[in-house]
């Protein structure tokens, strides 16, 4: 799977594409033309990379160190949300250059993955995270964290737990959003706040929560998160290019922080 064949190809002779239409009506894209996975959820590195370009945030001040290796608790939905939030914390620990915390998070990812039945799928990644942190190879730690996130989700999907895979993404998104808001709120800039404009992702997560099986929907966290997403929606700009105010950034942070606290509380 995903193998790379090594054929010698010269791209120098690549031809320019036939002119594609300059404008399309995106509101009328036929349903059958949509790819099954309705939106590509970006990896955290895409956002952290932009933040790096905007300045040098005080990541150590944003990092919320775990108290030892995270232990699973609650039902699978909460475990999956918790795992996602821990992986997001890993990205913050990388930004903060905190070797001990990155290693702790690597072990926590193993612990939480075990409870969800996907430990085997991420063992190699978790070990790579720990080793790369020891070596101070931060770009590699980032890459392995991205990979761990994907492999956890792939393994869950293969086990028929696509709903839980979405919960992992959602947990990561909420903690990542809280951290992003923290950084932007401390040193507000329009470009930094603009990173919060993610309407397709909000719609995606809302749709995933709405499509959960009846039993999963009964988990207390589900309606709380649905309400939180609904409240965040108008704060992140209704159209592309809308300026997101410092006040809105703080409001989004408070909503996301509240949800992350609920996720991480027994």
């Amino acid at each position: 799977m995903k193998k790379i064949t090594l054929l010698a190809i010269s791209f120098l002779s690549a031809t320019v594409l036939a002119e594609p239409p300059a404008k399309i009506d995106v509101s009328r894209l036929p349903k059958e033309s949509r790819v099954v996975d309705d939106v590509i959820v970006p990896v955290p590195s895409e956002i952290f990379g932009v933040l790096d370009k905007l300045g040098k945030p005080n990541w150590a001040g944003v990092l919320r160190p775990l108290k030892g290796v995270a232990k699973p608790f609650g039902e699978p939905q909460q475990q999956a949300l918790y795992l996602g939030s821990v992986i997001a914390e890993g990205f913050i620990a990388v930004e903060a250059g905190d070797v001990a915390e990155v290693k702790n998070i690597g072990n926590s990812v193993l612990s939480l993955s075990g409870a969800l039945g996907v430990r085997k799928a991420v063992t190699k990644r978790a070990n790579a995270i720990i080793n790369a942190a020891d070596a101070g190879n931060w770009p590699l730690v980032r890459k392995e964290l991205d990979g761990a996130l994907n492999e956890v989700k792939d393994a869950m999907t293969e086990l028929g737990s696509g709903d839980l895979a979405s919960m992992v993404s959602l947990g990561g998104w909420l903690r990542g959003t809280e951290a992003l808001c923290d950084v932007v709120a401390k040193n507000y800039s329009k470009d930094g706040a603009d990173l919060l404009h993610q309407p397709a992702l909000l719609d995606h997560f809302d749709a995933r929560l709405g499509a959960l099986k009846a039993r999963a929907k009964k988990h207390a966290l589900v309606p709380k998160i649905q309400a939180g997403l609904k409240n965040i929606r108008p704060l992140i700009g209704l159209t592309d290019g809308t300026e997101i105010s410092a006040k809105s950034v703080k409001e989004v942070r408070d909503i996301a922080a509240g949800l992350v606290k609920d996720i991480q509380t027994k």
Binding site: K2, L17, K23, D25, L29, P42, V43, A200
Partner: protein, 141 residues
């Protein structure tokens, strides 16, 4: 039980060539990505693919961030096929700054002017097959 196993085997055998072809298509997309890794692009370890009829475009919704630069690469295992990827913003304007197409490979680059929703339109422009496998990857820096 024996009948079930036979049916399962038959299903696996029938499915194998199709999976292998999507895999091959992805490997071509990744091959197209290789020169850009040297330019500092991080290729995401997640891929998208399937099969399409000629001229049956598919749309993929994607969240892109201003401040990043993206390359999208598409490939197919069908030698005679021509595949393409194009990028449109949330208002439907073509927004790629560069693109190329060479037989089984196609690519497009975008530097988002705004953070938000973008649409990738992937298409098999020419093929001898009724359905053509395609695979897409992307990178950012």
């Amino acid at each position: 039980m024996k009948r079930f196993i036979s049916l399962l085997l038959a299903a696996v055998i029938a499915a194998t060539p199709a999976l292998a072809s999507v895999d091959d298509a992805l490997s071509y997309a990744l091959e197209a990505a290789q020169p850009y890794v040297k330019e500092g692009f991080t290729v995401r370890e997640d891929y998208w693919g399937g099969d399409m009829a000629v001229k049956q475009a598919k749309a993929i919704t994607h969240q892109l961030f201003k401040g990043n630069e993206y390359w999208f690469w598409i490939g197919t295992d069908e030698k005679a096929a021509k595949v393409s990827v194009h990028i449109y913003d949330s208002e439907g304007n073509l927004c790629e700054v560069e693109g190329w197409q060479k037989g089984q490979f196609g690519a497009a680059r975008v530097i988002p002017k705004r953070t938000g929703t973008y649409y990738l339109i992937v298409e098999v422009e020419k093929s001898n097959r009724e359905r053509t496998h395609w695979g897409m990857a992307y990178g950012f820096r």
